[in-house]
């Protein structure tokens, strides 16, 4: 039954990993602006659609 120690350790490690990920996300400013990314997400399609149609575009992203 001592397998519970292993299970507990794993579950806590996983939890802590997610917690650290959260801290990093906040630190990088992800939570500072909660509106713009929701709009930006919708534009990525527009850009890809434009590219093959017109050849004038330079090849840098």
């Amino acid at each position: 039954m001592s397998v519970i120690y292993i299970l507990l350790t794993i579950s806590i490690i996983v939890a802590v990993i997610f917690f650290i990920a959260f801290i990093f996300a906040v630190k990088s400013g992800q939570y500072d602006d909660s509106y713009t990314p929701s709009v930006r997400m919708l534009f990525e399609d527009e850009l890809i659609k434009e590219k093959p149609k017109k050849s004038k575009l330079t090849n840098q992203e």
Binding site: F19, F22, D32, T36, F43
Partner: protein, 791 residues
């Protein structure tokens, strides 16, 4: 898109429409922007939104100061010699197209990389190659596509702004610990005497202890600090019982698990803090695109052109201007210091300062005050004072700007918490004394249980959730509050003071009445067509007020600067302008602005202009007069007195010719007599009054442009809703009181368990979240229900 509107900006196109690429444009600027976009395959911009653009302004030499190294250093965030990162504030950002085009700036110019828009703050952050490109060029590029960055003196002093994210961290930690502790304590809720469960109990309990450590020592730190501050100031604020509850919860739980007395209250402890912080987070709604802390620095430019002794022009920082310096003020530039006009025709728009929209003419030798905006051509002036000493900026030296209003205000929650804490402590002591005699082994258990269960979580949540939700509802109706405390202060006011110009009058439109001999149809046609040729603001206003007439071509048209205009068609001639100009000499000096007309040298009559009052003004005043003292403070002369008397209830006080300081002192005087004053103003001249008042509301025709420091910003279109907003803030206070009652009921149940010594951890773990959640649900439903009448 539509035929009549400009394809780029949507403004109506008149005679000067430019047709390009089968699309119509209102001006050359809009066409150029379209060309830039289509050359770079960015026309997708127009698919996202119809008419997304704004008309680009003419800029020349305006950004010369951006080539000064010391100014660049202040503005850029990062500079490694090869590339620079800068964040620019662009007030024009208004739709999703704007985000798209600004984030594709790197397509317009390859020197720019990774532009990123923050829509809420209306800023764009971008990196550019500083070896081949300069900040000045970035700004000019942005301006040329209609997104002119706004660089003000405020950017100069702030430097790198620090974002405080500690609340999110704390909330994250509390939530993380709460979830884990809940899982670990779940088996014990059922109290099954299972062999393996008994075996691992200590391990589970110590794990819970470990999870609660960061919650108590980091996430709860604000409550301890605030409670300590409160006690030192001899105030029993709401954080005192909360901090007490947290400490007792933690110590009791630790002792419990140490001596194997029980499983402890770690679940309640972490849950409590999670809910409390959630409430704090909810209340902290900020409108990042608005600023409530503005002073003159946000209006003033960062640099201005100085003319050196040898005649060369040089950009100079505004703070470095000294007495006697010669300054060049270009069209549309702001005068940064008091001075004397030396050269050029000045037409100063003081609307920033006074809210008065009509520009004032100045001749050389006249005094110019800081804060005015030059509106016709360039002028040269000599500085008489430095920035801080100028007439307008001196106002900010007043003490009112240095204190925060929240300090003087006791919130409803704190009023309740004082009595609450005393009651809870007495219950705890009385019941402990009782148990000391009845069964002394239970005494300590009862004492701690009372403090734990009485921890006023639900009370502390009532106000944040009610007021926070109200804040959001107000925001949806274009009434933006600085913070939730403003609602409580608004509910307490008894006096409302209005500024006149720009507040109860509309800047956009005015009305005119005609007095004199009636004009014949042919004279009317001539009048309208003569006005058509003039660019004077009064001519434009009158032109738009007159009925539509046939367009005729004038044989002769002449504009006499500062006097009037003259038009001739066939045998008829017409003169429009000042009394002297049309040949009427015995005109009494009047306070109102009027335009006189003579036809074929016979005096006909005059148009007198009146301010146009906002819609629903009379109704609003009549509604408010029942419960509030009303007053109007105007910086203008008494010209509108009669008009106002007709419109407003009889007992409305009206004071004219009030200087900024007079307004401030007027409010101070009333406050000293016990009045709670709400001030509604718009211009910088109201800044002192807004700061002095209990609730200062800035009215704004466009919330994106600047308004002075205040507690709330109200969109001018919603002016007639003001009465409803005040009423709603009163209902919000009622809701808070009712949720206090609700949470007291939970407390009574909890205290019953505690006093009788039967408080098991599972009961605390059920009662605490239940009371918090029901208070949150009640306040949210109640606020939404009461605000349904707001339309």
């Amino acid at each position: 898109m539509e035929q009549s509107g400009c394809f780029h900006c949507g403004d109506p196109c008149d005679a000067s429409t430019i047709i390009f690429d089968e699309k119509s444009f209102c001006c050359q600027g809009c066409k150029t922007v379209y060309e830039i976009f289509s050359e770079n395959d960015l026309t997708c911009y127009y698919d996202l939104q119809s008419n997304p653009g704004t008309t680009p302004k003419d800029i020349q030499g305006k950004y010369d100061f951006l080539s000064q190294q010391n100014i660049i250093d202040k503005l850029v965030e990062f500079d490694d010699g090869k590339s620079q990162i800068v964040t620019l504030y662009i007030p024009q950002i208004h739709c999703s197209s704007c985000i798209w085009i600004l984030e594709n700036l790197n397509k317009l110019n390859t020197n720019i990389s990774s532009p990123q828009v923050d829509f809420g703050k209306k800023t764009v952050r971008l990196q550019f190659n500083s070896e081949t490109y300069s900040l000045k060029e970035v700004v000019i590029l942005l301006s040329s596509i209609g997104y002119e960055p706004y660089i003000s003196l405020a950017d100069f002093s702030t430097g790198k702004n620090h974002v405080n994210r500690s609340l999110i961290y704390k909330l994250g930690i509390a939530g993380f610990a709460f979830g884990n502790v809940m899982f670990l304590s779940f088996p014990e809720y059922f109290e099954v005497n299972e062999f393996w469960l008994e075996q691992y109990k200590p391990l589970f309990r110590w794990l819970m202890f470990a999870f609660s450590l960061p919650v108590v020592f980091y996430a709860a730190s604000d409550y301890f600090i605030s409670a300590y501050k409160g006690l030192r100031a001899k105030i029993l604020n709401i954080d005192v019982p909360i901090a007490l509850g947290i400490v007792v919860l933690f110590l009791r739980s630790t002792v419990d698990i140490m001596f194997d007395l029980g499983s402890g209250f770690f679940d309640s402890l972490t849950g409590l803090l999670f809910f409390l912080l959630l409430g704090k987070f909810f209340q902290q709604k900020t409108y990042s695109f608005l600023s409530f802390e503005r002073d003159y620095k946000s209006y003033f430019p960062i640099a201005i052109t100085k003319i050196l002794k040898n005649g060369t022009e040089q950009p100079v920082q505004v703070y470095d201007i000294e007495k006697g310096d010669r300054l060049l003020i270009r069209n549309e530039e702001l005068i940064p210091v008091d001075g004397v006009l030396i050269k050029g025709k000045a037409k100063i728009d003081y609307s920033f300062v006074s809210g008065e929209s009509e520009a004032v003419r100045k001749e050389s030798g006249d005094k110019l005050f800081a804060g005015g905006k030059q509106t016709s051509g360039s002028i040269e002036m000599e500085a008489l004072k430095s920035v801080e000493q100028s007439y307008l900026t001196q106002l900010w030296g007043n003490d009112v700007f240095n204190k925060t209003k929240e300090d003087d205000f006791t919130t409803l929650t704190n009023v309740i918490s004082k009595r609450f804490t005393i009651v809870v402590l007495s219950i705890a002591f009385v019941s402990t004394t009782f148990w000391l005699f009845a069964d002394s082994s239970k005494a300590l258990n009862v004492f701690t249980s009372v403090l734990i269960i009485a921890c006023p979580c639900a009370i502390a949540l009532a106000a944040p959730f009610t007021l926070g939700n109200m804040l959001r509802i107000f925001g949806k109706h274009k009434f933006y509050l600085k913070n939730a405390t403003v609602i409580e202060q608004m509910a307490a006011i008894d006096t409302i003071i209005f500024d006149k110009t720009g507040t109860i009058t509309s800047n956009k439109q005015s009305t005119a009445t005609y007095e004199g001999l009636s004009l014949s149809p042919s004279e009317e046609i001539l009048l309208k067509n003569t006005l058509r040729g003039s660019n004077h603001p009064l001519s434009r206003t009158l032109y738009s007020l007159l009925n539509q007439n046939d367009i005729i071509t004038l044989d002769q048209f002449e504009e006499h600067l500062g006097q009037g205009i003259e038009g001739v068609h066939q045998q008829d001639s017409i003169k429009i302008g000042s009394a002297n100009f049309v040949g009427k000499t015995n005109e009494m000096a009047l306070l109102n602005t009027s335009v006189h007309i003579s036809s074929n040298n016979d005096y006909k009559g005059k148009y007198t202009f009146y301010n146009s009052y906002r819609k629903g003004l009379s109704q609003l005043f009549n509604k408010l007069k029942k419960h509030y003292d009303l007053a109007i403070l105007s910086g203008d002369n008494e010209g509108e007195l009669e008009n106002l008397k007709k419109l407003l209830p009889v007992k409305t006080k009206m004071l004219f010719n009030q200087k900024p300081e007079d307004k401030l002192h007027y409010i101070k005087y009333h406050q000293s007599e016990g009045a709670k004053v709400m001030m509604i103003g718009d211009g910088l001249n109201d800044a002192g009054a807004l700061a002095q008042s209990n609730v200062g509301i800035a009215l704004s025709e466009n919330v994106n442009v600047f308004s002075p420091a205040c507690d709330a910003i109200l969109d001018a279109d919603k002016f007639n809703n003001l009465g409803n907003f005040i009423k709603l803030s009163k209902s919000a206070i009622k809701i808070v009181k009712w949720s206090f009652v609700l949470s007291f009921m939970y407390n009574v149940v909890g205290v019953y368990f505690a006093v009788t010594g039967q408080l098991a951890p599972v009961i605390a773990a059920i009662l605490m979240p239940l009371s918090s959640i029901s208070v949150v649900v009640f306040t949210t439903l109640a606020t939404n229900w009461t605000s349904r009448r707001l339309r």
